[in-house]
């Protein structure tokens, strides 16, 4: 997994190296992206169903307007890890991951190896059952 350190809504630094020995689902999104907001609902549901010790869901918002990002987190009731990397498609992590459209999801295994792009909920659930 490409390493990154970004700030969450409380201005605390979150490093990608802290998600050790867990599956990691990275979700690139933005508050102005309607399909992303719909996707958030699914992720919130998934987050409630999964065992948080097994998988970390990390939302990376590319919102330039921090306030709009924070409002969206509240409105969509997001409780999983959320960080912000402003600048839209020019955001550093967006370039690092090769994000060409929003939303975009990347699933990494416990060793940090990319195993799926835009996985379905069933795929994720099957994986965690193993």
């Amino acid at each position: 997994m490409p390493t990154f350190t970004l700030k969450n809504a409380n201005n605390e630094e979150i490093s990608s190296t802290s998600f050790k020995n867990k599956y990691v689902l990275i979700d690139f999104w933005a508050s102005w992206c309607a399909p992303c907001r719909k996707g958030n609902k699914e992720l919130v549901k998934l987050h409630k169903e999964i065992e948080v010790s097994k998988i970390e869901i990390v939302g990376i918002s590319v919102d330039t307007d921090i306030e709009k990002w924070k409002k969206a987190i509240e409105k969509d009731s997001i409780k999983f890890t959320q960080v912000n990397d402003p600048n839209g498609f020019d955001a550093k992590t967006a370039i690092l991951f090769g994000v060409e459209e929003l939303p975009s999801q990347f699933l990494f295994d416990t060793k940090g190896i990319l195993i799926a792009i835009n996985p379905t909920k069933t795929e994720i659930n099957n994986l965690l059952k193993k």
Partner: protein, 164 residues
């Protein structure tokens, strides 16, 4: 040899007729439409940035508009923007251009509202099919039905509405 010569003539003519629709444009504001969220894709941005005439592309998320700033003294055809947007898999919803007034004073640019322009720069919207939404095109075909050139959908002339 003669055949090759003929081809060359055709090529020269083709280039000449194309360049006629070029105007000295400084800025283009493009609203794109399509099946999915146009701002959620980096494709349009990339296509526009890849044009040699383009200096910068900015996006306005509130109006879903791409603002394209062109290099100084660049001449470019409105058709180039349409091609870029369509290559990215989207359509143009509206195209507003800012150009030197002198460069649109020819038979290729037909001003539909017969406004006279006093300023050196002009801002105008392209009204032709493929440059407005389908719904707007239907409306315009009715309101401009007396304008034969508009209904002809000729690709090498542009019908424009002056906005300044």
């Amino acid at each position: 040899m003669k055949k090759a010569y003929n081809y060359l003539t055709i090529l020269v003519f083709a280039l000449f007729s194309l360049s006629n629709t070029y105007a000295q444009i400084s800025k283009a504001e493009i609203r794109a439409t399509g099946l999915t969220c146009s701002m959620c894709s980096n494709a349009i941005n990339k296509q526009l940035k890849a044009l040699p005439e383009v200096a910068n592309v900015a996006t306005d998320l509130n109006t879903n508009t791409f603002t394209v700033i062109l290099n100084e003294n660049t001449t470019i055809s409105p058709a180039t923007f349409k091609q870029s947007v369509e290559k990215a898999g989207f359509f143009i919803g509206s195209l507003v251009l800012t150009s030197k007034t002198t460069s649109i004073k020819n038979e290729k640019f037909i001003v539909v509202d017969a406004k006279t322009i006093a300023s050196e720069e002009v801002t105008f919207q392209v009204l032709d099919k493929g440059y407005v939404t389908d719904k707007e095109y239907k409306k315009l075909s009715k309101s401009l039905k007396k304008l034969e050139t508009y209904l002809a959908n000729n690709e090498d002339d542009f019908h424009i509405k002056i906005l300044n």
